[in-house]
Symmetry: C2
């Protein structure tokens, strides 16, 4: 059987490890992207991809394909109808972003609380000023909108800082590391309790523009809002208005309605908004963790069992 | 009995709480600093101070004084000989810095790992650049030099980030939240294992200039060194040389041989050194926590018991 990878720049130790573990059962072909990989698709039984390079024609050409391992969590560009038609198994890498994204969230909340921008400015000016008004994140209340793997990891770290954690999700079902959870339709009742709000919701029709101006009106004046889920959770103008009118103290944004964020966007220069270029999930460990997941699923695949990690429903696409 | 406080700007709710709890047993006098408080010292049985305003004459004048509560951990400026002569009990606020200092340490380690300075610079330039080379702090190894209350709190938070924690102290005795502990004389054997080194040692003759050039030679090229203990742990030139020669990747300094750090110090402009103005222990909660300690000790004092929190040996001064 041929295991075909279209992942660019796979590290040598990852390749060696896979050959070491599965070299007797499978032949591996590591290609530098789909242009190089497409010629081998008709022979591949397993295909490893970031999920952005497949179309109907490629899938149709993959006559022997039984399993697509997607080395990311975003599945928006996968041609699921054709994949489903051919009965191909799909697994993805949901969960491996949780670690770096939770680190990002805590890092940014600390940065705002401890006035990092002011401290760096003072450093540049050689200014010894101990009166910078810092707060602690310890002892505060954090509302996490989205209680999946990422939200839970944010909550787990927050608990270490003795932060009270409240989770909002569609069902409001209790999840690990949360002190309380509620259905997201109770949003307006919960937001007034939050010192900080972290949004990690994926983009679905239900979450699109979920946070409207009224949501920010409910938040505390000194609340900090952080969005690292999807950019269409809240309209740019709504956030701008919320910080400019003092409804909240600060917004940290890693995702935007339009990405890359246009150079002319007013978000860049707004003093109470921190912009980062959709990097919360980036990690030097990413490829290792993705292939580690592949390795586990490959063992399941070879054993003929069915208990795959992150198996995708190809009819629903998630 | 008179309880005299020289602490400036004591919050009204703190005063009310103390009167509420101890108003029947004691009279409270809250003064705005020693200049206002000194006239009442001869009548005071209990004196609350930051520990920087007393001299021999003041102590001699305090004929009825039985207990000095120091609302800080630094005791360098206390006239202990005279205090000891008069048999006055001294307690301090050791431990209440642990929370904010540990937050500071984690915040700064995240800042360096996640390239916050570069991200802020890009934001100022409206530059969407996702190639900034970030690392995670999760999964790394942290050496904490000093395993007291502060070091333990740093280790506790680090463990939440799945960081391996190694503690160094005089005795090397095992302490909570450390995976391993060693006597500080094994420093040179331990340092090569550290991705990050956090120093929280107090200033004693034994720790003065403990970290010499050879210590930095032992560290990893990509190690980050953070000092929030005392400035005389390491000479300025040694740190400068260590980062300039690439022996370590970055130094975060909150304490210095000379404070305030002179405007002309080369530390300010060194790209691989982050300077903060001795603020790791500053917290808006500080006064509350200090008076909370006082409250507990006041209950002990009134009960005639001896189990004071943070009782100081007035012969040794710590």
């Amino acid at each position: 059987m041929l295991v075909l990878s279209a992942i660019k720049n796979v590290k040598e130790d990852i390749k060696e490890n896979l050959l070491d573990k599965f070299g007797e059962d499978a032949e591996f072909k590591f290609c530098h992207g789909i242009d190089e990989a497409k010629d081998f698709l008709p022979e591949a039984e397993v295909f490893i991809t970031y999920g952005e390079d497949l179309d109907d024609a490629f899938v149709k050409s993959a006559k022997k394909l039984k399993w697509i391992m997607v080395l990311s969590a975003g599945m928006d560009m996968m041609p699921f109808e054709q994949i489903d038609k051919q009965g191909i198994l799909v697994t993805n890498s949901r969960g491996i972003h949780a670690g770096p994204m939770a680190e990002y969230a805590i890092s940014m909340l600390l940065q705002v609380a401890r006035q990092t921008k002011a401290l760096i400015e003072h450093e540049e000016k050689h200014l010894w000023d101990r009166r910078v008004k810092m707060t602690e994140i310890s002892g505060s209340t954090l509302v996490v909108v989205g209680t999946g793997a990422i939200g839970q990891e944010v909550a787990r770290l927050a608990k270490a800082f003795k932060i009270k954690t409240i989770g909002l999700s569609k069902t409001g079902k209790m999840k690990p590391h949360f002190d309380e959870t509620f259905p997201v339709d109770q949003l307006y009742d919960i937001l007034p309790r939050a010192d900080r709000v972290v949004a990690v919701l994926p983009s679905t029709p239900e979450t699109e523009y979920l946070l409207k101006a009224e949501a920010f009106e409910q938040m505390l004046d000194d609340a900090v809002f952080l969005n690292m889920g999807r950019g269409d959770l809240v309209a740019t103008e709504v956030i701008l208005e919320a910080v400019r009118s003092g409804q909240i103290a600060h917004a940290v944004l890693d995702v935007f309605e339009q990405e890359p964020l246009p150079e002319t966007s007013p978000l860049w220069d707004e003093p109470s908004i921190t912009v980062t270029p959709h990097l919360s999930g980036i990690s030097p460990q990413y490829m290792y963790r993705g292939f580690e997941l592949f390795e586990k699923n490959m063992a399941v695949y070879l054993s003929g069992k069915e208990d795959f990690i992150n198996k995708i429903d190809t009819k629903r696409g998630y």
